[in-house]
Subunit: 226 residues, 2 copies
DNA sequence: GTCTTAAATTGACCCGTATCAAACAACTTC
DNA sequence: GAAGTTGTTTGATACGGGTCAATTTAAGAC
């Protein structure tokens, strides 16, 4: 289901997104003008691997999972995009085809920006180009982190890392709520859901208490040295 | 060992690099002006994780391996850069610190471009910004490929993939020479050298013959379905 | 060419995690 | 609130690949 224009609340969310927050108002208006919005249920597919794709998607609310399919049908997540993230920037500067499948991991509202317009603006306005450069560098770093984690850490270590990345620095004990389902976290960390579950129970002996989506940390140091 | 200026042959190599080939001569001159060159032996370290780094390195010849260290001292390659590649673009647009260690994987000649200048040029010249955007998108895609491979494919499948990526399309049988040591290939594919060796011997039954650095493929179809 | 050192291979073993199956818990929907 | 659906946990098992050690092979040095 599509609506032609962004509502004012959609607009407000966009303005808060990291990508847009660095840009002058006029640039934002130029980018957003003509954008369309769509709503999606959990498990809806937004686009498929190898599909022609000349749009950038912005997650206004909800969550989008980007994954590739193996020959045998197995899925491997390559990224998970929360509210405010841009999806498909790579594609519009390369061959304008999706490199992976995208699906909503929960009920989501998605804005679509035209790739052609973004390319034009990037070529005309160095502020836009600059913002894109920073975005891509950030994504690059995240991808590097992810690859290194996969190759260096065991499942409990990856989970400990993830938990610590949510720790307000300085505090020794804290708790937070997972921003999505555990199965999504498992995918993001490159694990089967069962392995995530087992990792949590391994971490119990290091002071991690899991109650539903809420995670409580009693001893940060124990986690750090895991 | 450093030389202050690029030789004319260094310059020629730069002009052939994918990044520079899209740029007008004037832009290239502006970027390259003031660059320094250094030569390195195998295993020399170019920079270390978390070091301040406000340069972009260009591999003029040789090979550079980018890797992260685990707590236990294990190394995980995050990228391997052959001649013509740029290293450290992410860093100059983020916090100007290295996100990984870089070491020469064979005797190498490296050019250093100043990050500050590159940033300035990217902000002034949209052609430079454009070239950087395309470069980063390409790197992003490669990183995504790598992550997906790690998560979806077994060791023999990754090796088969690598071999096929060197197959001149259309040909049913062919052979080529590995552009670097097998241990480097192993790291690039996220494998221990032993695992690479075993993968090769598994692929022998699919018509892959390995003689030193030369790889011969007798039956492409068998490889593709592996 | 021979000597020396580094790289690659092979075997034995073990650890980590995927997979399958089943029990359980938590939401929906009516 | 009951019934069905979906998500999570637990156990048993199998497989892939890492690690260590011992050879074999290849590559540099003289």
């Amino acid at each position: 289901m599509k609506t032609l224009r962004l509502t004012s609340s959609d607009r407000a969310i966009l303005l808060n997104a990291r990508f847009f927050s660095r840009l002058p108002r006029t640039a934002i208006e130029a980018i957003v003008e003509g954008a369309t919005v769509s709503t999606h249920e959990t498990h809806d597919t937004l686009f498929r691997q190898d599909d022609p794709l000349d749009d950038v998607l912005v997650v206004l609310s909800g969550l989008v999972r980007l994954y590739r399919l193996g020959k045998d049908g197995r899925e491997a997540d390559v990224a998970v995009f929360p509210r405010g993230e841009l999806i498909g920037v790579n594609a519009i500067f390369l061959d304008r085809r999706a490199t992976a499948n995208a699906q909503a991991a929960e009920p989501s509202i998605i804005a679509r920006l035209e790739g052609a317009k973004l390319r034009r603006l990037a070529a005309e306005d160095t502020a836009v180009a600059q913002a894109l450069l920073e975005l891509l560098c950030h994504h690059g770093k995240l991808a590097e982190d992810c690859l290194a984690e996969d190759r260096l850490l065991t499942a409990p270590q990856r989970v400990a890392n993830y938990i610590l990345s949510h720790c307000p620095n300085g505090s020794e004990s804290f708790s937070f709520r997972l921003p999505f389902q555990k199965s999504v976290l498992a995918g993001k960390l490159g694990l089967a859901p069962e392995a995530l579950s087992r990792a949590f129970s391994t971490l119990r002996q290091s002071g991690v208490v899991v109650k539903g989506r809420v995670i409580e940390i009693r001893d940060r140091q124990a986690l750090e040295q895991f």
